[in-house]
Symmetry: C2
């Protein structure tokens, strides 16, 4: 069967404030893609909007704004994990032969209700994600001796990378001391250990192998997809909080499908909503041994979160998975400008929702 | 490539009042399906929730309630047209080879915000769907001489069918006079020309050709899919309101894929949100000539809306497309009880959103 390619990608600036509506913001990266593909005989068959914002008929409104009359138009939500889920939907629509070309756009607003997990009674009144991040951090510190300084250095690294990303929310370096001295929110998590929800939109254009060449001479291929849903509520995520069960399963599945091993990956965009989650993800994606994540922060052999991660770039929930994919595509194509990583052949996107209750991993080449 | 089958289906009662939450309601038909498939070696790979209600992480919450850990979990919205869109997503996930088995559940509450099209500035303050229905009705009456009595007789027919449906919202016969004398809401639409938004949930289980036989000896095959998105706003739907452009396109596409003609269809579930829309759908699905829809109401050769349509059964927005599909499956399998239609080989589901701005057609055999 035909392989599926990402043939173009774009992202808006991620901001704290915006005068745009969600639908206007979502159109920004889509318009760039449509301008780029002017010369291709483009007919967009599917428009999939990933967002946690409550916008009825959103994908269809965006289609009208863009002057597109697609065959399929859908809005999709799976919390923070929405963007990568939308990519899987687009992949399936094309792979099944029902569509040839799909535009995936992730967009969200700072005001989204997706940041409060009010439906999860197992959390009691602890509805903010920081509570589960704190429990994960405590478990890892206890079991593997991970330190607060190691966590802080994740934020330092990602904020540093974000300085080279003109679309990032934060473009100022910070130090380990800055993190350690920032406001303690929930023991042991401090203000600068946390990503910030913001406004932003990212989009990619997907097509099949036959169509790909009319758009680009460097298609990015979706080689592996892994996904796992463990639970919705924190109480059912896992009895062992020293690892992210859903990430481990999704990662194994994606590597098996791509027929690759973690050491063959050159660049990773992973879900660092909190510094501890980057450390856990290293381990559960197989980039280092279990328990070694704290030390792995300082490694140099593989590029991790070169756009700045969620910590540096900001986290517009429904956009994040698409934004991560945009970065990997630009890096694989050698078009990441100042952030360009050398020898970049295989990339990995890791996205997850609420306490790692579900995860999705894409492997791109 | 493997064909895709619907191997089980179930629906809740459609009600005006419920003490259940959306997630509890959604679980009802899913549980019936899971009990039925106890003996099959069932592993549900995907759970897709269709709803216009604002429930973050809804498909994952439902998965947890059901004790399922799927690979993929997504909530999807495309207004009234959500349910059939969720079926296309499930179809694609299986057809692409990424999933083997998918549970699609449509569920909605009477209180959904999906019934007000507040985002469409082209409607001014006329945000309720009844305004566009009135304009369609006026156009059809003017151009083809369709009468208010013909429209009324659609409601009479569908309410009569609903009497045989134990899950229907309305189970009492009405007369043409009842409709004509019911409160005039927006000229020429009266109270009994309108469907009622209500609470309800319906679910289907899909799988591939290899797996189908372990669930049932009568799989229902998805033979044709057609879909078209014309616009989001009423101002851009069409300059000619005597037909539903998106329905016409979706219908042609579905018949071409199924390699069937309208006269080969034995049973139809179509989107009668208002009586005039059933008359338009007859024509735009190719069941009769353009302009003949008014007279076609009294025909007996093809079963139309045997469960009672939206007018008789009620209209829980995100559930409707799935509920329509449940009815066609039960009829094709000869399991529709008192409503059973004789010689039932090919069925059609027609679903649409906001003023026919998008439509989706499924052909099942």
């Amino acid at each position: 069967m035909s392989r599926i390619a990402i043939v173009d990608e774009s992202t808006s600036e991620f901001t704290k404030d915006t005068s745009l509506s969600l639908q206007q913001l979502a159109c920004e990266p889509c318009r760039t893609i449509m301008l780029n593909s002017r010369e291709a005989d483009v007919k967009i068959d599917a428009v999939i909007l990933s967002t946690t914002s409550d916008i009825q008929y959103g994908s269809t409104i965006i289609s009208e704004y863009l002057g597109i009359k697609p065959t399929i138009s859908q809005r999709l939500d799976n919390l923070c994990n929405s963007g990568t889920n939308a990519i899987v939907s687009a992949y399936s629509l094309i792979k099944s032969g029902f569509c040839k070309t799909a535009l995936v756009v992730g967009a969200d607003m700072k005001q989204t209700k997706g940041s409060r997990l009010t439906w999860d009674v197992s959390r009691g009144s602890f509805t903010s994600p920081i509570y589960w991040a704190a429990i994960f951090a405590k478990a890892h510190m206890r079991k593997y001796g991970t330190t607060e300084e190691q966590m802080a250095s994740v934020a330092v690294k990602n904020r540093k990378s974000a300085c080279l990303n003109q679309n990032a929310l934060f473009r100022k370096k910070i130090t380990v001391n800055d993190v350690m001295n920032s406001k303690k929110l929930v023991e042991p998590i401090k203000l600068l250990d946390c990503s910030n929800i913001c406004n932003g939109a990212s989009a990619i254009l997907l097509t099949n192998e036959d169509e790909a060449e009319q758009y680009t001479d460097r298609p990015v291929w979706i080689e592996g997809i892994g996904s796992s849903v463990e639970a919705a509520s924190f109480g059912n995520v896992s009895s062992n909080l020293s690892y992210i069960q859903s990430t481990r399963k999704a990662s194994n599945m994606a590597f098996a499908m791509a027929n690759l091993k973690p050491k063959q990956i050159d660049i990773v965009e992973l879900h660092d909503a909190f510094t501890i989650m980057e450390i856990l993800a290293y381990e559960d994606l197989g980039l280092c041994e279990k328990g070694e994540g704290g030390k792995f922060v300082s490694q140099q052999s593989i590029a991790i979160n070169p756009r700045g991660g969620l910590l540096g770039t900001g986290h517009p929930l429904g956009a994040t998975g698409v934004a991560q994919t945009v970065e990997i595509c630009q890096q694989l194509k050698g078009k990441a400008g100042k952030r360009q990583i050398k020898r970049c052949n295989n990339g990995l996107v890791h996205n997850m929702s609420a306490a790692g209750s579900s995860s999705l991993v894409l492997i791109l080449s």
